[in-house]
């Protein structure tokens, strides 16, 4: 099907659409029309505003003052916390997302097998993700505590030294990753739904062909669930970069800025330090990074994601 825009390098030529193509275009636009309206009203303006703020010094009380790209330049060159914040965020994303996705996939696979009490186990694995962040913070603070927490009580019972999970700067991020992996319920559900869609007949054919369990897993299950994996991975990265609520509530970015991620740092700058301009600049830098990540993922998806439809 010829595309509307001819791919001549440097030259775009439009040709008129056929009646069928026009109808397709209008149909497509009609379906996404609610989204378009919402985008224009609720997203476009705020996002552009955020960019505008990033070029100003804005304390939310007085009108914004133009400073050009100073916020961006200062962040990169002289801000004492920026390097740490960036390191924290990349650390988080590069560890928590893959670990979370793999763990969720394995658990979903486990749940997809013939087991007694399947409903019960599914509920158990899903529960953590329905608990509000406020509660998660309170419960885990207690659990991980050196004095009152059960983990450390168990360690002490075995004669081992206690571990100051979230009170220690070096252990704080791994502890949060642990909590994050515990709360992968939604990813498990998505994978479960996708696993359910793999036709049984394929497994049977594979068995007939003499494939082992691992073979079936790797050559039937995984390829057919790649759309779901793609989704969970992409959204995992997107939201991983924006991690905010749990570190804000549990550790307040500490100890010693160990959990000061970009969104946490941004929030502090916006509403505590009265530097909304700087916060907006941080947000836009984050945006660019996430876009690059997402585009790379999408481009790579061509090589490993299998869709059934070509549409």
């Amino acid at each position: 099907m010829e595309s509307l825009i001819q791919n001549n390098p440097g030259r775009f030529r439009f040709r008129r659409l056929t009646r069928a193509e026009t109808r397709q275009l209008l149909t497509g636009l009609a379906f996404i029309s609610p989204w378009i309206i919402g985008f224009v009203v609720f997203t476009f303006y705020p996002v552009i505003s955020a960019f505008r703020y990033s070029l100003t010094r804005y304390d939310l009380i007085r009108p914004p003052v133009w400073v050009g790209f100073k916020n961006y330049i200062d962040l990169i060159t002289i801000d004492p916390n920026f390097p740490k914040v960036v390191y924290n965020t990349f650390y988080w994303v590069l560890f928590s997302v893959p670990i979370g996705v793999i763990a969720a996939f394995l658990m979903a696979s486990l749940l997809n097998t013939e087991i007694k009490g399947r409903s019960f186990f599914r509920a158990v694995f899903f529960f953590p993700s329905i608990i509000p962040a406020v509660v998660v913070a309170m419960v885990w603070q207690f659990l991980l505590n050196a004095q009152f927490g059960v983990f450390n009580a168990a360690l002490q019972g075995m004669g081992l030294p206690t571990i100051p999970f979230i009170a220690n700067p070096d252990l704080a991020k791994p502890s949060l990753i642990l909590i994050n992996t515990w709360a992968q319920g939604s990813a498990i559900i998505i994978f479960l739904a996708a696993l359910q869609d793999v036709p049984r007949s394929l497994y049977e054919a594979a068995i007939v062909d003499g494939a082992s369990a691992w073979n079936r897993f790797w050559n039937v299950t995984v390829p057919l669930t790649t759309p779901a994996i793609m989704f969970v991975l992409t959204t995992g990265f997107i939201f991983g970069f924006q991690v905010f609520t749990i570190p804000w509530l549990m550790t307040q970015g500490g100890p010693n800025n160990a959990t000061e991620f970009i969104a946490v740092f941004l929030y502090r700058n916006a509403f505590v330090n009265l530097r909304m301009g700087k916060a907006s600049a941080l947000a836009w830098m984050l945006f660019v990074v996430v876009v690059i990540f997402a585009v790379s993922l999408f481009k790579s998806s061509r090589y490993w994601v299998h869709y059934s439809s070509d549409e």
Binding site: I61, I166, A167, N257
Partner: protein, 466 residues
Amino acid sequence: MKSLSRSMSRRDFLRTTGLLTGGALLAACAPAAAPSAAPAASEGAAASAPAAAEQITLQYWVNWGGGYGIATWDALKASSKWSEMMGDIQIEVLPSAGDEKILTSVAAGTPPDGASNVQYLDFMARGALVSIDDWIASSDIISEDKYLAGSWKDGGFEGKMYGIPANEGFLRYALNYNGKHVADAGLDPDSPPKTWDELMDWHLALTEFDAAGNLIKIGLDPYDAMGGNLAIQDGFYPAVSWGFEWFNADAGTFDLDNEMMVAAFETMGAYYKQIGPDNMAGMRQVEGQGSWGGSYNSEVQSVMIDGYWRPGGTAINKPEVSEHHRTSWAPVPSHRKDVNPQGTGGHYVIIYNESKYKEEMFRVGEFLNTNEAMDIIFENSGWLPGQIDYLATVDSNRYPGLKFYFDSLDTATEWSSPARCPITSFARSQFNELRENQYRDTMTAAEAAAEFQSRCTAEYAAAGFA
């Protein structure tokens, strides 16, 4: 294969659109139709009119929790003084509003009618507030001579008054300790330490670890409550204790890179290093053992530097701890051993330029300064205003430990009040970060002080105040 209709039947079409619009209508209409409709304050109505026809409901947002916002205000609203002064004006007090909410509303031009326990000076210095001098001039209840000098002064900025002193405004600094813990540790509760060195001896005796090396009880956390706070209503204790002016409002300069600030970091940080920063952080991460009295009331902390409200707060929440509550002078460095430091501070009701019902809110401020209201507040939360006459009527023996603060009015030798710094909120977040760097040994005290100075100076200039 199932045959499909060629076009969507009218019924189907109606069903689909009906569902979507129904949902949207549900969303749009349901909240409005509900009994609690949006209050008058949020509609773009005309300016407040004193006419009896319009029901006025004031919006008062505070960063205090439900203890004040709900419990105390239920009593305040029900008092006869309220109806006498305010008629049928209603007020909605929103507790724990949060700075993000207040700042967002201010940025959008829809602030509440009044606010308290916010970053007062940050608003004053940026011209967001209504100056109340005219109303004060014609008020019978609010006038300068009625208040402690420090409490009054802090409600103003560059010669104009912006905040009605209200809710709370008495003295800020004393060493608060649990006499029983002290006695049990073999120390004499009647001879409290005066200097930081003496206090360290107490701290070492009072801090307890278990056999496995876990922290069981904190002796002193010097950065807890008033010791480590940096706020416009509370001041900055290191500067008080070491006796230097950390910010000069007239010159607009900071003096943080000096040997006193370095000594403060080192001295106060030493307590953290002795306990172990991880231990201290871990202790605080448990609900109910937080700072500002949580751990003190839970008896996992023996000593804290806090304001006059501590005796009342502890008595109301934990009478069994209050029994042993003792107070004395907040610590000073050895070379200033004879200094008895005390400070004023306090809270205000501030009114924004874009608040809807400004005069009515001022009247609420006046209401909060009547004896009836002050009684209710003292009963419910143990807070006292900076009003001299009222303070004279208070039974200072009401709560164990309270008397010391009253006595210090006469016996203090050095008085302080919070520095008028327009970037207080920023300075505070930097102080929190830098002191942690110091006691976790990622920075020396000298570096921390220098960094503190440079960051504040840079921010002050960049924020357009230089």
